[in-house]
Symmetry: D2
């Protein structure tokens, strides 16, 4: 079975990652690329400054880029991936939904909307049924699903594994790679021999999105998880891979061994892009490290290490590839779930 | 008044910082340099591979280096600064103490010994009176005072300022510079485009030393502060300056403004190397940053920023220069306190 | 004697360096700051995002920024420093010259104009007399002097020292710091774990400017030096300090010792900002290095090292601080020469 | 056909690259691993600190490591790859040669010996016949072939392509990655925000090895190429990939287009690890770049770009992966040639 897919915002950094991930995908066939008006009508090779570390697939290079409007996307495209800037996405995603498209979006707008599923397939696949609520409320035939922010998605699988012990509070510090800010988001003068202890809006995303992802959905409404989350987000001079230090407080006592076992045994999803196991747990205290571990599971696996009991829970480190598992790969995986569950 | 001082372990990275800090010091006159046997008898210029960013003072370059034994230190030297590797220090510091020297040491051995003052002059100057206990127990005429680890000293002044609100627990994540591991401690292959989520022994130092520094001393014994401290220490590709994310839980409610005011008003010490104010608090969320702020107060000031209320306390960032305030400068400042209090 | 000076383009990276260098200058009194229309009327503190590593001088912070037009510069200002983008400078510098101002400019426009002196005070002070030609041809009362590009100025003093041996050809490769491209000129994604073997227009600047700087001026016209220069310019992940590998072919044989002596003995200028000696020559093969040596002579000294005879000349390395000796400091030094020679 | 091979010095950085490259090799079957006495008898997993970015092959992990003596290598091993430190190699390689082994060695000892072939299969495969001379002179049954230094091998293929225009002189500046110095060869304190304009012995290796590689072999003796080579070698903060700026003087005029065509058309070798084409020539001026281009051709392709005519030749940049094409991959490729030519 083949599903024809398109990419909204195909020329940017995440757009390029989508193209890289869709090359040789067993189910998805790339059939549409959109970008800004100034790129419309050009070949993709002309429109994009290609910067990822594998060549542009020849057939993609010759595709014609359309404008980001439903009129420029063929009707037989079934699924759209969106990596538009959130301001643009807030404007144009509704047009595609009203035109009946299913949209798996990495853009940050609407992630916390009560009727929009914020989904990690291995963690909360059932939240996808919020689409029913969404269609009823919005009156459109399309379906909008979001994946969380790159810093959130790095931590949440490990928290999901620990929630059996009763998560009560989480303090998390992040050491985030520069690619998370986009190709030009961090200048070299800002970050060489330096670190920046603030990323605009990022603390809040981690604090709210993680509670939605682990929240309970009763078929009608979604209740946020009751845990208290405090985040402190930092940018460091690393290219790819977000490393995070987590202090998790649990209602029940949890030993280092129990925490490690819970992570190791947390199930993967039966989808093409889901790694097995979902979480690789290191016994070494000095792992995971961004450069050594970000490519695990083709960039889709979560790594954890440094587990230690604390007075009221457990502390540990976790890591994921921020532009694969944390962006394009997350949307593709949500697309695979949408197909599996029959929404496409 | 002039005090003749010596440096034990004068050729290493911290030893070079001592020399840099003692150049033009108003009170301390450098009169002795020691190093390993292989350097003894050489001029300092021959013995040391000088790597700090100011030239070797001419008179120091021509001084003859002695071995690290009391026999090689002139009797009229009153105060010794020690930057020996901790294993070496554990062996030879007692020889100097038994010979009657006052030693202000940056080495990590004996920091947690019940009769050894672990001192930051602006924080716990009264702990110096542990020297009485020490002399009685050890039977020596000398006096040994230690300064804390670089990662501990970055955080403790801010905690001291907040303790009026009843500190109950602290979670801290560090982003530490490579110079903290010594000149050859971190290879370039380990750290370029990377971060390492573990520094051997560092979590434990932060957890225990901070409780001693804020502990109560009744003239006979020192009781550790009751707060619970959990630390997660990381190495990042930064040359100098440790940045730390602190989550502090307090018994009383504390607003962002109250926390900032407490830090800003925390008193400095009336000593040559103590900056005024002790803590510089930024209103900007994206400060302090290592490269921009590590030189504040000639490397002796603590910077803080990003203060925010949390459910049960306050979170913030702090920063200090790890080889000045966190090592050589800390020992020199302790030396100034020893003089001021009449121990030298 | 005090000279009132202004800065055109005062809010940018080089503009901030001008302010830093003019603080405590013995002769120059800062009396005017200009920037783009959008900054006009604001205090400097409001208008500039201050990023250099010393605080904004308090009195400068409170100065009001004007637009970059003669109308916004007080009449009693005698000398203007320009760090405008070259496109803007090409438009507005003539307005100031027609209004009678003396302009010492770091902008790249007009550097190769036959009637504009391109000057390094220690190298070709006599070229300043081109101002006579310039006034005659342009019909203005002002005077325009340019300093060379940062990569050119790093190499030319060493070439000037070697020209006594008959310079015939030069091949030079540069390892240039990111600050040379301006604060936002190089993104972190471009340069971390990387190098870029091209800087737009830079090869040509080195090849032409160096021949003008070492050219002969007979009072009427300037003849370019006859040497053949080939440059290959690279950007590397370094913050400040351009390092260059030079292969110089000379008509006469030159030994390593003769080349070193020629550099060491090359005279400095008797001006406030000129270092003495002009060129510091290292005997060590592994120096100069950007981080260790860029601050020599307050960032105004040229360093050289690694001298070796080749079949037809000599090869060596040289280094200078690109935003001090290579930009703002170069213009200030030219300003000092303009005062000394009576043009101001 | 399968050839049983061994690795001398299998636990080091280059040794690990050998293992990585031999996994799935169509001809070579890994049958012996040696290391220092202290590792002998251990499993490879125990003996090596594995640091390359793919997992240890399971079967290799369980192999027992021997000491580096002929006694510890099975008799049915036909070919040995050597990545021993050059001092050790000088001592022990003769033992293996006297025992009759064919050794393809990356170690720098004996590279310039007149009877030892220094070979790049695409450039000078005929030099392999020096083995006849070697056997006669040394009286052993084995055969020793060397590959050149990583900085030499990056440049020589491009020079080989240009030699049809009559190479007379070469000036080359290198921007070399830290991995070239081994895992611990460059400390982070040395290289962050810095560059080092000297690599011990490297200038000389480039100057002599390149003349041997392009030299003429008449069946009895090898005559060095007559070109004059001057090299200036620099270390920069890049992990892998040596970038080099070459100024080549030629007897005949050569246009940019002719030089590019000569490189593009230079033939590859019909061997498993030889890329096709051998040299990828970029039209873009800002390529090749280390991080973007080092992986081309599985790390075995040479990249070139920035070609420009000069007064007496051509200047350009070239790049290769220093630990693949410049070390382990070079030895493996020489091994493939040894098999192809019937020496194994």
């Amino acid at each position: 079975m083949s599903v024809r897919v398109g990419i909204l915002g195909a020329t940017g950094a995440v757009g390029q990652r989508f193209i890289q991930l869709l090359e040789d995908h067993p189910t998805f066939e790339l059939a549409a690329l959109t970008a800004s008006e100034s790129s419309a009508g050009k070949s993709y090779r002309e429109a994009a400054k290609w910067r990822v570390n594998t060549p542009i697939p020849d057939d993609v290079a010759e595709m014609t880029v359309g404008a980001t409007t439903p009129a420029d996307v063929p009707d037989d495209v079934d699924l759209l991936f969106s990596s538009l800037p959130s301001g643009v996405a807030a404007d144009v995603e509704p047009d595609f939904l009203e035109a009946g498209y299913v949209v798996s979006s990495n853009s940050s707008n609407d992630r916390m909307a009560p009727d929009v599923p914020l989904t990690i397939p291995e963690i909360n696949p059932g939240h996808l049924d919020l689409i029913e609520v969404q269609r009823e409320q919005r009156g459109w035939d399309g379906a909008l699903v979001k994946n969380p922010n790159c810093s959130t998605i790095t931590m949440v699988p490990t928290l999901a594994a620990l929630d059996q012990f009763g998560l009560e509070a989480v303090q998390v510090s992040t050491l985030q790679a520069v690619s998370g800010a986009g190709y030009s988001g961090v200048t070299s003068m800002e970050i060489i021999d330096n670190a920046i202890p603030h990323i605009n809006g990022e603390d809040d995303k981690m604090e709210t999105e993680s509670r939605k992802l682990l929240g309970a959905f009763d078929g009608a409404a979604l209740e946020l998880h009751g845990m208290d989350v405090s985040a402190s987000c930092n940018r460091i001079p690393t290219l790819d891979g977000h490393l995070e230090n987590v202090f998790a407080e649990t209602a029940e006592d949890v030993s280092t061994e129990e925490a490690a076992a819970a992570m190791r045994e947390y199930p993967s999803a039966d989808l093409h892009s889901s790694p097995d196991p979902l979480i690789h747990v290191f016994d070494d205290f000095d792992r995971p490290q961004p450069r050594l571990d970000r490519e695990r599971g083709d960039g889709m696996q979560i790594s954890a290490g440094g587990l230690q009991e604390t007075t009221n829970g457990v502390q540990y480190n976790c890591l994921a590839h921020n532009t694969i598992r944390g962006a394009a790969g997350a949307s593709v995986l949500n697309g695979e779930l949408l197909v599996e569950e029959g929404w496409v």
